[in-house]
């Protein structure tokens, strides 16, 4: 028995070292977690049943009301996106005048949440799109309010998304009001992120919107990330402590958007964001 224990210990220590140092074990992990899919599906069943029950007991009136609200909202958003298309075109013309590179448009694929991390220290979620939908590592994931996180593991039919609030995650951001750049670090709690190394004299105000800056090349530019909630200055320390709260509803959203850069976009399944994205000439792309 002691002999077996020794073998198990040696084996697991080797596994840990190999997994920390190299990435040869990724295919193994992928096969394992593809095999876990039935378990995952079942563990999401209570949520699905709950939603079904709520739907079953919703009255016709309230559904109709909701439909009306959604129609009205769609109208408003459509009007905005009409303007958005012409404004993008305008900006691109201006950028051409300045000989700058054209702004790339992204496409999105709608994904659904199928599982969340059982462990409060690791903040990630599972979504129902994987290699079969050309999901790739490092892909940005949004909900309807802002940036949620990035894909860190892709299986055949599902993938794992690290949330921006995880303590291992950081997003390059800029303040929408004045363009000041900073990095938003996750601290391991869902409601707060921290801006790192903000000088005491920096122009930050409570309520400022932070958008992704696109630096680092992982997240596309201009998506809302968080809003500043508190700023504390410590005399004697060079940096202020700035707390921000994520715009995305990290623990509530069930419908998410996977963002595809244009070159990775599968034309048949992704909807372009701007309505004119199709008609725009593409040779000017970077």
């Amino acid at each position: 028995m002691g002999y077996r224990l020794a073998m198990a210990v040696i084996l697991s220590v080797t596994l840990i070292i190999v997994d920390v140092r190299f990435d040869q074990l990724d295919p193994v992990r992928r096969t394992f977690s593809s095999g876990m899919i039935p378990v995952q599906w079942l563990s999401d069943l209570p949520n699905k049943l709950g939603e079904g029950l709520v739907f079953l007991f919703t009255s016709r009136d309230s559904l109709e009301e909701e439909l009306d609200l959604m129609r009205a909202r769609m109208l408003v958003l459509e009007r905005q996106s009409q303007k958005f298309a012409s404004v993008t075109a305008e900006i691109n013309r201006l950028r051409e005048l300045l000989n700058a590179s054209r702004l790339l448009d992204e496409g999105v694929v709608v994904a659904e949440l199928i599982g969340a991390s059982p462990d409060p220290d690791n903040q990630y979620i599972h979504i129902n799109k994987g290699l079969n939908q050309a999901v790739y590592l490092g892909q940005a994931v949004l909900d309807s309010h802002g940036l949620m996180g990035q894909v860190i593991e892709v299986n055949e039919f599902s993938s794992r998304v690290l949330l921006i609030s995880d303590s291992r995650h950081a997003v390059p951001v800029q303040i929408n009001r004045n363009g000041m750049r900073a990095i938003a670090y996750g601290v391991g709690t869902l409601g707060t992120l921290e801006l790192g190394n903000v000088p005491d004299t920096a122009d930050v105000k409570v309520g400022d919107l932070l958008v992704s800056s696109g630096l680092g090349g992982r997240f596309p530019q201009g998506y809302p990330v968080a809003r500043v909630t508190s700023i504390e200055h410590f005399p004697g320390r060079p940096f202020a402590s700035v707390k921000v709260s994520p715009e995305a509803q990290l623990n509530r959203s069930r419908l998410l958007l996977l963002l595809f850069k244009e070159e990775n976009l599968k034309r048949d399944q992704a909807l372009p964001v701007g309505s004119q994205a199709e008609s725009r000439p593409r040779e000017g792309a970077e």
């Binding site: 198990a8 084996l11 563990s43 220290d121 690791n122 869902l190």
Partner: protein
Amino acid sequence: MATYFFSWLAVAISFFVAAVLELVSLPDMLVVLRPEWLVLTVIYWLLRHPEKVGIAIGFGTGLAMDVMSGSYFGIHALALSLVCYLVLGMHKRLKMFPVIQQSAVIFFITGIHLMIVYTMRSLLSVADSGLEYLWQALVSAFVWPFVVVLYDRLVFALR
């Protein structure tokens, strides 16, 4: 001495159920109170059939837990193998204990499991979580009698 009926089907079903329970999404308040279902399941089968279920099963379950929790391969495997060794060492006494006393032992055993997991994790990455995992161990100990009754029923039904 009574010989227990053994079926791999019961083992498979119990592990499947435990894995589902391990992954069910809970409200934020309750996440720190999730019992270690898979560890309890392994301990149950170790106590019932120490001749069939051993360290190898514990190791395999640990690997599955690593995949489910997204931690480095081998952390849970290491912890669960050690737990299996501990339980195998005292299974004869543990079986004789009244349920309350068993629960107390389960508290320490799951506590050891969680301690190894969290220590390894904080060694390998930045996460640190204080002693909150003791709540998980406490809830596991509290749930243990119910787990035993349920699995006994399962075995009886499949007899």
